[in-house]
Assembly symmetry: C2
Homo-oligomer: 270 residues x 2
């Protein structure tokens, strides 16, 4: 998906919401466990209920890998199902990959050729040759970890070097490799006070923002400080939406939770 | 596998060699493509030919994921096959994972419970809660990326902060989370001049050393500067061994390449 299409989609659906699909057999409603493929069945119903009220989905690949081959099949089926609906939506493989060049190429092939994702999250620790293979695909995106939402983000990302934090070095340096058309950054909502500063060093790039909801990030502060003229944010919510109900009504409740988030976001979208 | 078992194995087999299993359908001998599962067939023959001459195997997970479900099945079969031989060997999932705590837990489950790996490589960028879930398993290991072998290692790992390089911060800080019994570091052979210094800040930890062979690292310098009293090194070689011949003799040639590497290593093992 082009940047222009993504922007148009946000305007059309009136939301910057990305729904996380971290599907865990231990957390999905019990009645689904009798389905032939419970993971896929859960995803399908969540997607059916929310696709008109979000602009992106983000399966975290760990949750699928944990079930081995079965999980992998469920992931492939989920992507195919979403694409079969013929409704534009931005698909993010939250994989946090990053390896030497020839290996990153393999990962790019997995998520961009074998499966039809629009974007992959990538860890920057290994530097340029771990990121650039993902940038060689037209209309595909890399989302580089900048400042993450977890507690451990304080351990290394906040180290200062030459008057910049490590995450600022990452955000600055990677802009030499990609453009606002193919490079986004993960910026956690748990650091709302940092958004203004980060926006000043990455004016046109989209940020994927986890950490709103269950992790405690403040949506209003994130929007107020992080948006740019092209919206510039994809706000992820996972547990607050997909696990809002553990009953047979889970999909309907997920939809109403999505609508709730959108209502909070509405004032920022024009 | 315990640290003591690993040390005994190195002594018994007279080698610190780890064979990389980066199995790529485009690189394996053509005659194998007719097999029912070419990836597994290649791995099986490589393992049969080399297991007595190495102490570890390291499949890079990217190569398996690139083939989707089929690749995943081949990986599971490979691990099961190696374990069925009942010969001790250290199995490393080169996955370079790293995510927020509850996600890292899923990855740990995948590689330690679903499959019987001894160790997983982990990227440190996201800090403590991305590493510690892997440390909760008895006799299992985390191998944290320290100073990697690729060109991109210069981009961020070499940033200086408070008189230390980032990779030194990583090596120092993670030692608060793990011990020499469950924590190793990836240190690339392409930085042989750094080994003495790194050994001085991680005296008892094993280092997994990629970059010997195709990537140009110098085995002698690595051994001379990187070993400790318990050997302390696992030296990885991939392409130089598994792709040494593209013919029907590939397994025999891989074996003789392994023996070659071992010969160079022999003077350091006593």
């Amino acid at each position: 998906m082009h940047r222009a299409e993504l922007i148009a989609l946000i305007r059309q659906r009136n939301t910057m919401l990305c729904v996380g699909l971290d599907t865990d057999l231990q957390l999905i409603p019990k009645h689904l466990l009798q389905a032939e493929d419970p993971i896929f069945e859960f995803n399908k119903q969540i997607v059916d209920a929310t696709i008109d009220y979000c602009v992106a989905y983000k399966p975290n690949i760990a949750f699928y890998e944990a079930f081995g081959t079965k999980g992998w099949i469920a992931l492939e089926k989920t992507v195919e199902y979403i694409r079969s609906l013929n409704k534009p939506v931005f698909l993010i493989a939250d994989a946090k990959r990053g390896d030497i060049g020839n290996t990153s190429k393999m990962y790019a092939r997995t998520f961009f050729e074998h499966m039809d994702f629009d974007a992959v999250t990538v860890a920057p620790y290994m530097g340029e040759d771990s990121v650039t293979p993902f940038l060689e695909y037209k209309n595909k995106w890399v989302i580089v970890l900048g400042l993450t939402s977890n507690k451990g983000s304080n351990d290394f990302q906040m180290l200062r070097s030459e008057d910049q934090f490590l995450y600022e070095h990452v955000i600055t340096k990677t802009q030499q490799w990609g453009t606002p058309e193919n490079l986004m950054f993960v910026i956690g909502a748990t650091h709302p006070e940092k958004f203004k500063e980060i926006r000043s060093i990455a004016k046109d790039h989209f940020f994927l923002v986890p950490g709103v909801g269950a992790q405690g990030g403040d949506l209003n502060q994130v929007c107020a400080n992080g948006m740019n003229d092209d919206f510039g944010l994809l706000i992820n919510s996972t547990r607050q939406i997909i696990y809002a109900s553990g009953g047979e009504d889970f999909a309907a409740v997920a939809q109403s939770q999505a609508l709730d988030v959108n209502l909070q976001m509405k004032q920022y979208i024009r």
